[in-house]
Symmetry: D2
Amino acid sequence: MPNLNFHPAGRHFLQIPGPSPVPDQILRAISYPTIDHRGPEFGVLGRKVLAGIGKIFKTTQPVVIYPASGTGAWEAALINTMNKGDAVLMYETGHFASLWKKMAERLGLEPEFLGLPGIEGWRRGVQNDLIEQRLKADTAHRIKAVCVVHNETSTGVTSDIAAVRQAIDAAGHPALLMVDTISGLASADYRHDEWGVDVTISGSQKGLMLPPGISFNAISPKAMEASQTATLGKSFWAWDEIVAMNSNGYWPYTPSTNLLYGLSKALDMILDEGLDNVFARHQRLGEACRAAVRAWGLEIQCVEEACHSPVLTGVMTPDGVDADAVRKLIYESFNMSLGAGLGKLKGRMFRIGHLGDCNDLTLMATLSGCEMGLRLAGITLQGSGLVAAMEHLQSTARPVARHPEG
Amino acid sequence: MPNLNFHPAGRHFLQIPGPSPVPDQILRAISYPTIDHRGPEFGVLGRKVLAGIGKIFKTTQPVVIYPASGTGAWEAALINTMNKGDAVLMYETGHFASLWKKMAERLGLEPEFLGLPGIEGWRRGVQNDLIEQRLKADTAHRIKAVCVVHNETSTGVTSDIAAVRQAIDAAGHPALLMVDTISGLASADYRHDEWGVDVTISGSQKGLMLPPGISFNAISPKAMEASQTATLGKSFWAWDEIVAMNSNGYWPYTPSTNLLYGLSKALDMILDEGLDNVFARHQRLGEACRAAVRAWGLEIQCVEEACHSPVLTGVMTPDGVDADAVRKLIYESFNMSLGAGLGKLKGRMFRIGHLGDCNDLTLMATLSGCEMGLRLAGITLQGSGLVAAMEHLQSTARPVARHPEG
Amino acid sequence: MPNLNFHPAGRHFLQIPGPSPVPDQILRAISYPTIDHRGPEFGVLGRKVLAGIGKIFKTTQPVVIYPASGTGAWEAALINTMNKGDAVLMYETGHFASLWKKMAERLGLEPEFLGLPGIEGWRRGVQNDLIEQRLKADTAHRIKAVCVVHNETSTGVTSDIAAVRQAIDAAGHPALLMVDTISGLASADYRHDEWGVDVTISGSQKGLMLPPGISFNAISPKAMEASQTATLGKSFWAWDEIVAMNSNGYWPYTPSTNLLYGLSKALDMILDEGLDNVFARHQRLGEACRAAVRAWGLEIQCVEEACHSPVLTGVMTPDGVDADAVRKLIYESFNMSLGAGLGKLKGRMFRIGHLGDCNDLTLMATLSGCEMGLRLAGITLQGSGLVAAMEHLQSTARPVARHPEG
Amino acid sequence: MPNLNFHPAGRHFLQIPGPSPVPDQILRAISYPTIDHRGPEFGVLGRKVLAGIGKIFKTTQPVVIYPASGTGAWEAALINTMNKGDAVLMYETGHFASLWKKMAERLGLEPEFLGLPGIEGWRRGVQNDLIEQRLKADTAHRIKAVCVVHNETSTGVTSDIAAVRQAIDAAGHPALLMVDTISGLASADYRHDEWGVDVTISGSQKGLMLPPGISFNAISPKAMEASQTATLGKSFWAWDEIVAMNSNGYWPYTPSTNLLYGLSKALDMILDEGLDNVFARHQRLGEACRAAVRAWGLEIQCVEEACHSPVLTGVMTPDGVDADAVRKLIYESFNMSLGAGLGKLKGRMFRIGHLGDCNDLTLMATLSGCEMGLRLAGITLQGSGLVAAMEHLQSTARPVARHPEG
């Protein structure tokens, strides 16, 4: 094995917005011996994870689990429902929205990219009025799907999906609503059924605290119906056979058994903590992180108060400061990985992940590394973000240890 | 975690023809903490596995590693190179060849299925003369690809790929040669470059001794060229971006980091044993297994001596005996999983896997379980297969322990 | 890490009579992060293992768990209860009984070694009449303890401890009864309370299926009382402080936390299978093993039918055959470790372990390796032990897989 | 398995002064399958760890590795060298020195406890002049050993062992020098040979970053000689047989195989980082920690500048504040374990561990938890310790990531 940690000692702080740190229990779960995916034990495993994953998506509809990483689930959503040349309305929230649009093009669709100009759209959530307006104009209903990113991992902006649904309904438009919540699921509240989403796409390596390698499509009846007549070639991604086989807990082809072990454990952990507690924990850590950035006197990438992501925080470096050089300095000096600015934001910001298996002290460690690194990089900070974050955490702390009796 | 072994005690014998038993070292490797797939450590890992995997395919051409299971790599091979409506000549060696053909149909291709009638084709290797003949008849070169399965997992028949290449060449036909060696790679000799294969498809959960979840396309220059003009929509599977990013050891989207840890370890183990030693070990175990089946007086599914698979052996149960009932009895009584008869062979045979991390005593244990189970099922055996297998193993045994000095 | 398996491929068969193969679940359990041994979580762990271990010893009295390997528990039993110069009656069942006697001498006691002459005593269980006779002669009650080995690991002989108790009682002698069941516990039935044992000594690396490193003293009230006035210097081994602290699940000094994780898991596994089922499984495997040895025409070390060990079988090699050379050949050729002949039996026999996490197919693999190795060593066998063992296993097989519903 | 973390999410911060957090690599190492402790692989392992451990103790003399926790190694040192009624001069540095003295009493020795009165001696290192003075007075050389604790875990005071040696030499006294560096080894510089120590005692669960369960005696020729005539009963702890067997890498009785796997890995990690770098890292973290305590306006337990421990820092709580209540609050609110005040200091202080696999951000997290917890407990702090610690770390930071090229 090559060396997986170039630092001489101590734990690496993986504070990128995913893959998030995988808890020990999950790492051990995925190291159980691989079993026969046609045997009775597998059926029990399969039925368990399929039942549990629906609770995370808040859906009673089928959730397909692919033995493929998140990008594959993007493709699956489009491939299953669309036809060659179909128009899809995609909203530019950031780099990942852009990549999804590029994918739509490569798959032979005709994506239309909606959004605010320049970098502005990358600092705000989905503007629902733009969507409503555009759909109203599409009287011929050429647009077959509206595609939005729930939590844009490249910026730290979380959009209001219920509002997008309302915009589509207000326009009286039949387009499918497809939502990428790859980095939002199990960190930010998400309601596939209640919000009327047709296809929700997610992955394993974020709020689910798993390694990358499996991904998800939650599917509404309307999307399922569309898939029956859609004509893009589909086989590996095809929902029909998977959903049929899933009824007994099996898959038509070999599933990613060991990552399903991890999923089983992750579901136990998340549902045991309670989804609402998980969301509240993420919100609180996000608030503390933003308190730190403000105390430093740096700009947060997201400028809409209602849209701050509980998953990650984008921090803009002052003009003239190469954010990637700061990240490198922090990596080398303090054994911590941060997320880079992507696409239009390359070198302009860095991203702090505070998702998944994160707690107060992990966040404080993270902010310490950032604060020291920023200073070492020669940036003058207005104050100590650490102290500001600590104020927030301290004032909102509650004893949470669960004693065996409790 | 649900119970992953319904047996009260002792190790489970996973003797299906894949997923094969994952060695402890590999299970531990995949349980290392997930790292930043954009960080410097990952680059070292990526470059290492990409360099090593070429040696296994015996190629100096690019090998794409997908964060998706083997069925995905089938799709990738077709999607990257074909166009809607393209004719592909596929050879029916068994159930998996049939599934691949079905996939081609779902992807919008026009597969033509060549083979011997009924069950006969499922007992023999690819008949190269049929291919040559068919290609010669295709004077218009409508056929764009010839697709064959190297080691048919459903039957235990290994075909001669070099001979397929010769047949194509003899016909002077420009079709691409695509070979599925999902269950053959790293167990049976395979030579992507020397045999002139255009796309080789493989997976992780067989000879590579990994859990399922990653898969491979080895790509000839001719296939790569075809991909540049092929018009099926491709994005997740698209070779171009992956190969470009791989030059530095990275991927365009999130790779399956933890399974790549396992791959790194698997490559160490296989190359340390030596590919030729690995192949010889599989051949010897296959011979011993067949000696047992013959001693039992049962029929081996494969009837061509030159085509016996070193990976698995298909055993036909006597007329009137439900092979699945035998398998269930063995599973319940002796804590061992065997492969089922698939497709045309359902209930007619079972499959003994002797691949991957298998050695003499594991095979003897396996054959013991079979022999006892067959008898418990009321089948009269001609003799002890165990004794026959032991004769073979004993007469060909060599001390192989490598002392620290050696 | 140095290479821990000098064989190129496949699982090592660790068929020595301990350390026995550690199941995956236990290996994973011991790899959980070490916790604060003074924190609340540890208390839950401590209370759990202390409650569970009593069930294994079949006692309601204290069982002290030492963070030390089994030899330490021997010392603890003597140190806690004896005084300098005390006479102890020890029974020579084999090599380990001899080592225990040597320990008693080094600790300043005066052991008297009872037994049959030469190698004869190493082929039979404890002769209770000899003990009764000797104790009756000790009218002055100089003898303070009777020490016997329940399952002599060097020979494969299991003695009747209830009968030893009866012999002591028949002699009306007040000596303490100390029993080493290091290799018997959790494989052969053992009843600390019912059999009136005063100190039972055991270890982790045999029937409990753990790595070596922790060990046990089960303590009768009479032994506990003796310890209060005994004058050998004792501190690390002293029962008093440990038993006092154990009431809350803690230890006076740092316990072996990670091996206690393993113990917790092992207790779950054993009690879930059911002690009686565990014992029956060991008996059945022992019978099959002996059937093989008899079919080979070789002598079993134990010559008393009632005393055959369910844990291991000692196999004598024919005159002139160096048993260690056979073992080496088997190790090198078939990736299996067997136990050596010890002490008086060095080079004269080898020992087959069939304890702990062992099942039918593991035993068949083991016997295959033995049969091939014996033949390769040039020994003429009367018949196939493999076939004989298989007959026994097959005729006594029952489906034991527990389906999720069951 | 019982729940080993009562907190709902995120990593536990185990900041007690041992057991220290065990790195992932070591946890995985100890989960490798247990092997035959008489086989050739074990010999390689044994020779490796025995060679490596000497480098850590800085000795060319034998280092005995016990399959027993640290308290056992204390006993071993005394048992091997002393005789009943021997006078030993022990120095009271704190709670652990007191426990060692109590052990000496239980073993039948006559310890004399030297030290400053009341709590004063618990705030300073060994006063060498007291030792010199006492030894000079012992003209009859009744004192057979001088026993001191190098790094007193209960207080955070590290004594100057070379100076103790000088004191003994200055007195011209023949007593053996025995040093407990259970919590100092591999964190603070230690030189068994150069400092003329006769028996050095250590354990696994501190600077060596292993779980508890194995322990050490490094032995000078003079101590070895003493052991040959010493008359306390010794068997399990006896050096002679172990040292003899160790020459080939084996042990006379079953060693703690899986913890030796961990030791092998730990040696690799420590020697790869470099002992001097390890010591410098501990010193720097200790300085940062003390900077925090001073900024809070709290007292550090150790009042001698030269004796501050690089392993842990003892923090006294203000009068009237129950330190254990503060610890509990921190445990419950911030998922961190701190060490309690022991013995004379119970409830008066808490201990922060910054040893082993600790780095800058781990320490910052730790101090964050302390600062928030102290405030939540109602203690008025003079200033932010966090900011003070950060100043120190930042001003002394160096990039330490080792790139693959380097």
